[in-house]
Every structure is written in C-alpha cells, then in structure tokens.
C-alpha cells in the first residue's frame, strides 16, 4: 500500500510499504477514506518529539471502512463506516473504566520509555512514534486498529467524511477541554489557538452555556473562521496588547476557564517568545510554554486552566507563583474522547458542531508532503490538510 512516512526532520515522503495485518483477535483492518493533518504531528515532523524512526507512518485522525476483523471482534463488522479515536484503549483497565482512555494501561508497548519521561505510561496512539507505542499511522491506504470494538464508532447517516474525520480527534479534544475544564453557563472562556482543536473547544464552551467565548491567535483567516463559523469573539495578539485586552473583555476579572490549544511550538511576539524560542533552539528546554504561561496569567483568581496542546518534556519559567497564589486549578490531558464521540457525532449530525470548514485543503495522499508543508507554514490559508488515500 501507499503511505506517508517520516524520513527525518521536516522531511516526508510517500512510499510503498507492506499492508498491515491482524495481529491480535480484537484487531480490525480499516481502509482509510480520509485522514487529516494535526498540529501535534508538527512536533514529530520537526523533531521536537524525537521518537519517530525514519520510515514510520504518520497520522492519527481518520475514518474509513472496516475490511477485515479479528476472531474476537463482536460489535463491528466488515463494511462498517467508522471514525476511529486517535488513542488506542482496551476499555477494560481501571483508567478506561474511569473514562480516561488516553491513560489506558494496556495498549502502549513502550512502558519503559514512558515511565522514564513521565513517571507512568500513557495509552497507545496511532502514528505518534515510540512514545505512544510505535503503532503505524493512518496516512495510508489501510491501518490496523487494535480493540476495534472500543475505539471505533459507526458514522451516522447524513454525516460526510469531511465532517466525521474531525470527530476522531479535534472535536473530542476540544470538548474535553471545555467540559473537563469545568465550563458552566455564564462563564467567560478564553481559548488560546484558533486551529481545529481551539475552534472545537470554543464551540464546545458555547454549547455548555458560556456567555462569552474569545479565541486568541494571530492568523487572520483562522480568526475569521472563529467569528464566521464558530460564532465566538477573537483577539489577534499581534494587533493588541493581549492581557489588558482580555482583562477588559472579562470585566476586569480574567477568564473563568482558560483553554490552551497551542502546544509546544508556541509563537509569541514578546520577549518571552524570543526567550522561549532561543532556549528550545539551543535544546535548553524541550517545549515552549508561551501559551500556557499566558493562560495562567489570563485566568481569573480561582479559575481553571486546561492544557490541550501537546507537550513532550520540560519547560522553563513556568509561572508557578501565579498558579499557586491565584488558586488556579490546572489540568491537562491527551484526548479521552471515547466517552464523548457518540454524543459528538449526534451534535455534528444535528448541525450543532460544524467541522467541514476546517479541511481547507483536500488532496490525494500522494500530495501529503506538500499538504504538510503548507500546513506547517500556514500558507494559503491552510487550517488542516485532508488526505484521501
């Protein structure tokens, strides 16, 4: 089959590779019909999370048709059109039973590496290197899906591939940030990042009853999508002084819930951005916490901060004082979407959540290296590149 592979830092290629096959009885093989680029992939492509081996297949946000099932698969069958959660969960361990499926005890085949990095092991994930178990990714014609009964969801009638593909990751990640961040009716919510996840976090906050939602970014076309499609307000941090603007917008209080949807390659025009970039380029810190820092400052006293952006290691100048003295609740997580996806698919079907606008560039898998190029450099208004194998 054809697949998009990581060749080295900022180098991708489409290669002919072996077809995947069923290895365990709860596996299935899915013929991928749509697979989309994600901002977290850029951390792998750029070598910021250095756990990709040359030749590894990228991609974790996808849907497709089941073409083969293992002997112990009970709830799915060949021919089902399914969206698949990015994280691989067994559904049986204590964490899965608590709904924390990204923390599954049983699906990561590299526990030693995880334990060394984080003091514990998170679950497996498609196309994310050895950190999440070394599973082959979805930017391919076929992908092996372990525990298909747990991790796949039949797409309802009337929901297109372009809509459903984002329910694999961006939609449940955004929902998790708003819901588990504790958004309540009447809250003022600030979201850092106007990419797919940030937009879905903003929409989720609105659906949970927030009275005002503001999304912070610098890319004009993404901010326009937030205003025109999501219906939230925007701040372009390159045009105004962010913190005073946010303070004024929240009646002097700060955000009740601050959601960070940027990740470890954050940009900032200020001195902190220069400092972070210099230190990460010199490999004196692995991640740039610029947006997290801003979220901690921008949250109200006693407010909530939820970190959705992906971080791989260690940061410098984390505002621990702000966190402690303001009495903030700070949480973060990889995506625990299994519990939310059926409800979110229904919301997409009812038109409460729009996603198709995120796929600004649809192209053949053969063109995926170009897709990642424009996605990484935010060229031509690219929000997400959607690949059709």
């Amino acid at each position: 089959m054809r697949a998009l592979t990581w060749q080295g830092v900022n180098t991708l290629a489409v290669e002919t590779v072996d077809d995947p096959r069923i290895l365990n009885p709860r596996d299935a093989i899915v013929r991928v019909t749509a697979s989309v680029s994600c901002g977290s992939d850029l951390h792998l492509v750029g070598g910021y999370i250095p756990t990709m081996r040359s030749g590894d297949i990228l991609g974790h946000e996808f849907l497709g048709e089941i073409v083969e099932v293992g002997s112990e698969v009970r709830d799915r069958k060949v021919g089902d059109r399914v969206v698949v959660n990015s994280f691989i969960a067994c559904g049986q361990c204590w964490y899965c039973q608590q709904g924390k499926t990204s923390l599954c005890d049983n699906t990561n085949t590299a526990p030693g590496l995880n334990d060394a990095l984080f003091g514990a092991t998170l679950g497996g994930c498609f196309g994310f290197g050895y950190t999440t178990g070394g599973y082959a990714g979805s930017h391919a014609e076929y992908v092996r899906v372990p525990f298909i009964d747990v991790g796949s969801f039949v797409v309802p009638e009337g929901v297109t591939d372009e809509q459903a593909v984002f329910v694999s990751d961006a939609v449940p990640t955004g929902w998790m940030g708003a819901f588990e961040g504790g958004v309540k009716p009447g809250d003022v919510v600030a979201v850092w990042g106007a990419g797919g996840v940030g937009q879905m976090a903003a929409r989720s906050a609105m659906l949970l009853g927030a009275s005002r939602v503001v999304v912070i970014d610098r890319i004009p076309e993404r901010l326009a999508q937030v205003r025109d499609v999501i219906g939230a307000e925007t701040i372009n941090y390159e045009e105004v002084d962010l913190q005073p603007e946010l303070r004024e917008l929240t009646g002097g209080r700060g955000a009740d819930v601050a959601i960070e949807a940027v990740g470890l390659e954050a940009h900032s025009p200020g001195i902190d951005g220069v400092y972070d970039k210099l230190k990460s380029n010199l490999r004196l810190q692995t991640d740039r916490p610029t947006a997290v820092r801003q979220a901690l400052y921008g949250a109200r006293k006693g407010g909530s901060v939820f970190v959705l952006g992906v971080y791989g290691g260690f940061v410098d100048t984390f505002p621990l004082g702000a966190m402690m003295n303001k009495g903030l609740t700070v949480r973060g997580s990889q995506q625990n979407g299994h519990q939310y996806i059926p409800m979110l698919l229904e919301r997409v079907q009812r038109g409460e959540i729009r996603t198709d606008h995120l796929a600004t560039h649809t192209m053949s898998l053969e063109d995926a290296p170009h897709g990642y190029d424009i996605f990484k450099n935010k060229e031509d208004g690219c929000v997400r590149a959607l690949f059709i194998p």
Binding site: A3, N24, P25, R26, P50, Q92, P111, G112, D115, F147
Partner: protein
C-alpha cells in the same frame, strides 16, 4: 550522617494493580508461571475497588532479571484485563535510514518493554 548500603533492587517486590478479581488474575498468570521457580508471587485486594494487587519478586539464586519480571507482570495484567497482549510488530513502515538517532531509538524500543518504574 549515616552510610547505608544500597538496597538490592533486583530482589524487591514489583507490583501491578489488575482491575480483576484474584481468581481472574490467577487464571491469567501464565507469563509469570512460565518463569518457573525463580519468581515468587503474592496477591492482595487493591483498595478502592481497583481489583487485585499482583506482586512478584526474584527468588535468591535465580538467574532471572528484573526485566523478566516486569514483562511477565505486565503481560499477566494485559491478559487478565484486556484478553490479549499488545503488539505492534510487524508494523508496516517505509525505508529505515541508518542514523545514530535511529539506532538509539531501536535500542530503546527493544528494551522498553522490560524497563520502567515497576
């Protein structure tokens, strides 16, 4: 200041919590029993409805390594909870370049299953 001899890490108990009853755990202990007399096990009820704590340690004089025990504990937990042991190989992949980083990653991946905080 006292000087204390370092604890023998090889001989200590290593523990996993399995979200299953003791009977279910016993039924899934093939990876541990395959290690033979060289490993000693014990079971106890985990607090807070979290199933069973399964502990194992290497008997004195055994040639088993800590990695052997970690792998067997994890595999027992996976069999008891999920019904299968997670595997990724053979996974489809493209051309593997021979680079120092690649060699390092391969070495880490090869050892990772038996390493960790257990």
């Amino acid at each position: 200041m006292t000087s204390e001899k370092p604890r023998d890490d090889t001989a200590r108990w290593r523990v996993v919590t399995v979200q299953r009853s003791e009977a279910d755990v016993i039924g899934a202990m093939a990876p541990l029993t395959a290690l033979g007399y060289g490993v000693e096990t014990r079971l106890s009820t985990a607090p807070g409805d979290r199933g069973t704590e399964l502990a194992a340690r290497i008997r004195s004089g055994s040639q088993l390594s800590a990695d052997d025990v970690r792998v067997a504990l994890r595999q027992t937990k996976q069999l008891a909870e999920a019904g299968e042991i997670a595997v990724v190989q053979p996974a489809p992949h493209g051309h593997r370049k021979r680079t120092p980083q690649g060699a390092l990653l391969d070495a880490i991946a090869a050892k990772s299953e038996g390493k960790g905080v257990l």
